[in-house]
């Protein structure tokens, strides 16, 4: 119970910090929007390929932009933690009776909360562009996958922050998330991929997350055969990256 309360407190602080630092807040707001508009606008014509089966390219891009927004939410919480590590706040927390696990649960929950915000922004932008919400259940599925991806990417970023202990490690956090999304089915369905990317996307868990949330967006129904691989991929990512974030935490005592 106390773990939860401390986590909530730290999450609230993390959210507040992001809101108060414009150089962190503005990009986290603008980036998913930019990705949505620039992708759907520049590559609009690609939607005419038979692999798209007549789907609107804006609707096709919404889940990708929302996922990217969730990824940014995760990165941001890692950056805030890195700043805390640099500034000494983390040391003070450590010497306090706050449960260890809360030190990473806080930023993680903040990232998840922020992903709800970025996903909503992407949905609103989509509606302005003429793509309505795909129905209650499907919309919730997309929110759910974004929440899971935000949790996974924040674990990644937290792990980097705890090891590097400096906000200068931010480019590494960003690069990996960027590449993991773009080296999947970010722009076209898997059948339309050519050459090396087809192989990479096949082994990239983000492919299955995007496919699941895209299926919800485009069909408006939840097709189980499209959804479960996304759930498995999310669970796998969370497991591996959760361990990545937890490992340095157990070694904190030695420092």
């Amino acid at each position: 119970m106390r773990t939860f309360a401390v986590s909530m407190g730290l999450a609230g602080r993390n959210l507040l910090l992001v809101r108060r630092v414009p150089s962190v807040f503005i990009p986290s707001l603008i980036m998913p929007l930019f990705i949505l508009v620039a992708t759907a606008g520049a590559f609009h014509g690609i939607g005419a390929l038979p692999e798209f089966a007549g789907a609107s390219y804006l609707a096709f891009t919404i889940p990708m932009a929302a996922t990217m927004g969730a990824g940014f939410a995760g990165i941001n919480s890692g950056m805030t933690l890195a700043r805390d590590l640099e500034g000494g706040f983390f040391d003070r927390l450590q010497s306090s009776p706050a449960p260890r696990i809360a030190l990473i649960m806080g930023p993680l929950m903040a990232a998840m909360a922020r992903s709800v915000f970025t996903t909503t922004i992407v949905f609103i932008a989509g509606m302005i562009g003429g793509v309505w919400l795909p129905g209650l259940a499907s919309t919730l599925v997309i929110y759910g996958f974004c929440l899971l991806f935000a949790a996974a990417t924040s674990c990644w970023a937290i792990g980097v922050a705890l090891r590097a202990r400096t906000v200068q490690a931010a480019p590494i956090m960003q690069l990996v998330v960027f590449l993991s999304v773009f080296m999947s089915v970010a722009y076209v369905p898997v059948d339309a991929l050519h050459g090396w990317l087809g192989q990479v996307a096949h082994y990239n868990p983000v492919t299955y997350i995007l496919t699941a949330s895209r299926s919800a967006e485009l069909t408006g129904t939840i097709i189980w055969s499209q959804t479960w691989p996304g759930l498995v991929a999310s669970a796998g990512l969370l497991l591996v990256l959760g361990a990545w974030a937890l490992l340095p935490l157990t070694r904190l005592n030695d420092r």
Partner: protein
């Protein structure tokens, strides 16, 4: 030694210094090579089915041939931003003031920076074309096609370099110059740098159609894909030269104003 010869030597020395500082810092040159090349590879693998199969995209040899010029322009933009940030760091750390206090010719402070940008732009264009060639792209325009692509890239690098100097003097902060980068990246995406103008619709098409970057990249692309004429080449060079004239004049004016305040 005449004043002109002296200024030339100082320009060369300062340009060399800029190039060396760029090469010594991986965080200065890595993004300018890595991001455009990775995006080029991802776009080529994602949109390989587009040419000849969607309305507004004529059949071509391969998407890589189409993508390489957009990658060059993106690389030049990123390199220019890093160079601008480096100049701002020079101002922050006092190197600029020491230069001003020394008998260095005022012109070479600017031309040194621009010379480095142009040199790096040439290298970047040749490198990207070579990498694309390894993966099967071909410049239909042959030797002169490559020359035109490199001239446009180099002139555009001067334009971006001038913009970097202007922003560096105005803000005096490397972080602020870096922070403006997403703006330029946006400019590139809102053009036909990565996909043909004819496939775009609505307001996005309208924006890309008035974006000079569209025509700059298209004139380079004509050299790669074939169908270039002396006019398409001159259009590209003209746009790059026009942008360079604007940004370099702006940077020269701010530099002079800054020096007047300093003296």
């Amino acid at each position: 030694m005449s004043a002109a010869a002296l200024a030339t030597r100082q320009t060369a020395a300062l340009a060399w210094r800029s190039i060396i500082t760029t090469l010594r810092l991986p965080q200065a040159w890595f993004p300018a090579l890595f991001f455009p090349l990775v995006l080029m590879a991802i776009f080529t693998a994602s949109f390989g089915g587009a040419p000849g199969n969607i309305p507004g995209f004529p059949p071509i040899r391969g998407f890589l041939d189409f993508a390489v010029c957009g990658a060059i322009v993106q690389g030049v933009l990123i390199a220019g931003t890093t160079a601008g940030a480096a100049f701002a760091t020079d101002i922050e750390h006092g190197f600029f003031d020491r230069l001003v206090a020394s008998p260095t010719s005022r012109v070479s402070i600017l031309t040194g920076r621009l010379g480095a940008s142009v040199a790096l732009g040439v290298v970047q264009a040749l490198l990207f074309l070579s990498i694309a060639a390894i993966f099967g792209a071909r410049v239909e325009g042959g030797f002169w096609g490559i020359v035109v692509v490199v001239i446009i890239a180099a002139t555009f690098a001067a334009a971006v370099g001038g913009l970097g100097v202007y922003l560096a003097i105005r803000t005096g902060s490397g972080e602020a110059v870096q922070g403006m980068f997403p703006l330029f990246l946006a400019l590139l995406f809102f053009s036909s740098a990565f996909f043909p103008l004819a496939t775009m619709t609505g307001w996005y098409h309208a924006v890309a159609a008035v974006n000079p970057i569209s025509y700059l990249v298209e004139s380079m692309r004509d050299e790669v894909l074939g169908g270039a004429t002396i006019w398409t080449a001159l259009t590209g060079i003209g746009i790059a030269a026009g942008l360079a004239a604007i940004s370099i004049s702006a940077s020269a004016i701010t530099l002079r104003r800054r020096l007047r305040v300093a003296s």
